[in-house]
Assembly symmetry: C2
Homo-oligomer: 330 residues x 2
């Protein structure tokens, strides 16, 4: 039913010119008489002509497409990051495609294969370290930026991360300022946050009070770890959780044990999830400037597309502490 879309030749015929001229007009060449230019533009408008990006990409050798591969679309961090990324890429005339690997390495490879076949100009890996053979090969052929993963040692691959250590320090400083000493930490997958906690505690000469409990990054994990911490004697007066979901588990555990927040226990999360902003939760949390990270990634990528073969660069973005009602004086 859908009639075939008009091509540049149809426009040329209708305007009574050669197709080359149509191309010139559409690309904004200055060496075209005003008379013909108008004729071409009008013909294009009348036919509802829309340039075929496929053909253009083929001849240009580039697609102006950037593939963003996300481990998990549900994670609000990625969603906001993508907003920033798209915004900046758009300014550079690049379009963003999103692929979703759902944490499955097989899907990762597959999505990247798709991007490579589409000949994207650049690749952004979100929460995905290029370890598989396919991914490594991809980074060799295509300008790539990795986000949220440290310790990538690949030539010509840029990295954008949140400065976890600084974030942890912000949290601990805040708690110390409120008079807390027995500050515990629940460790998650990001080990640098734990290191930041350790460093900050020592800096405040609170080394004797260091308490760390590991947990998997879920509410249930946070609850179990918190229960373990809070039944110690003496119990901590504050808990810095690896992230907001874990912190939510801490809140549950506290409620179960009859501890009031923040009177009896202060809680700090990480990520500043939408959830933590809810007044029903109101969790003090470290915010990773997500949009900023997105923009950084876009800048690095555009630059690298323009000039591949640069050395790898690392961009650490400064987080910020958002204080809410889950923290208070001892």
């Amino acid at each position: 039913m859908p009639r075939p879309r008009p091509t540049i030749r149809n426009v040329a015929e209708r305007a009574g010119v050669s197709k080359s001229l149509v191309s010139l007009v559409l690309r904004g060449s200055p060496h075209v008489s005003e008379h013909r230019r108008q004729a071409v533009l009008q013909a294009a408008r009348e036919l509802g002509y829309r340039p075929n990006a496929v053909a253009r990409s083929l001849v240009e050798g580039r697609t102006h497409l950037v593939g963003a591969l996300v481990a998990d679309l549900h994670n609000p961090f990625y969603a906001e990051f993508l907003d920033g990324l798209q915004e900046s890429l758009h300014g550079d005339g690049l379009r963003m495609l999103i692929g979703n690997s759902q944490w499955d390495p097989a899907f990762e490879d597959e999505a990247v294969e798709a991007f490579l076949e589409l000949r994207v100009d650049g690749l952004v890996l979100l929460g995905i370290a290029p370890t598989s053979e396919t991914l490594i090969e991809a980074t060799a052929y295509t300008p790539t930026v990795v986000v949220g993963e440290r310790d990538i040692e690949l030539d010509g691959v840029d990295i954008v991360v949140d400065d976890d250590q600084l974030g942890a320090r912000l949290a601990i400083d805040h708690l110390v300022e409120l008079g807390h000493k027995r500050i515990a930490h629940i460790e998650g997958p990001r080990s640098s946050r734990c290191e930041g906690y350790l460093v900050a505690m020592r800096r405040h000469s609170l080394a004797p009070y260091i308490m760390v409990e590991a947990a998997d990054a879920s509410e249930e994990g946070g609850r179990e770890a918190a229960t373990a911490l809070l039944t110690r004697d003496p119990r901590p007066t504050a808990i810095f959780a690896a992230n907001d979901v874990v912190a939510l588990g801490v809140l549950s555990a506290a409620a179960d044990l009859g501890l009031r927040v923040p009177e009896d226990l202060s809680v700090v999360g990480y990520d500043n999830t939408q959830m933590s902003a809810s007044s029903h939760v109101s969790l003090t949390s470290v915010d990773q400037a997500r949009r900023t990270m997105g923009r950084s990634a876009a800048a690095l990528l555009s630059d690298r597309i323009g000039d591949p073969g640069k050395g790898a660069r690392l961009r650490e973005v400064r987080p910020e502490l958002i204080v809410r009602r889950s923290t208070g004086r001892v």
Copy 2:
């Protein structure tokens, strides 16, 4: 730095055959001797050959790409829907591109233009009604499915929605079963949910107890509306909120007024957000079978791509009530 990717010709030379034969092998033609087939495959492997989807699309006249335009990536509904969509499309050999309009009609048009220039085979509009000229034109040229918007009257455009009315009925039935009579509703943007509430209340002969308060779809809006409802005399014993975010506002208002949930007040949300599953919130909520909707959309779209020109179809997906701790007996 990145050396040019090998083409089908390079493979042909290396294997000592014509490029047509390489194409045949790669497309899995049966009329190729095993000997040559192996030679071609090996040459392709050695060169790291990857077919160029751009060139292929140009000659095939189709891209095997589907563009999904999302109003808001942060909305977890869309994220999960996309999972289901991608999963099913993948089974049909289609790849999914995601565009993000961030609720801005200008971005919508622009993203759709991009999709059209890329010559996507199909379009999925999430929470976006095709009202602008660009979008309407797009639906005329490209198979399209609209999700989450009713009342689209366009030829050849399929619609997938949650059965809001049924969802509301499930919520009310549940509350009635628990002995509630004074059940209030906070109305959001989806008017069909409100209608469902009204119908269900009347069905239970509870028309005299109908109470509706409008609110904008935010936590603050929910809080205000709930405060208004809960300070009435007699006050409602249960509130059915338009969605989970609004319900969260209800919980806040209840806490402010010293009402315990569920002892003094039962609350039901809609959408079964991740938040509502958190044990710290534990909100009874209506779940919109998001993955199922994604799969439905994929099925409709694949079908329409195979045979455009069918009439418009409407698919209403059945929601389900998830009972948690925010509802209890009167």
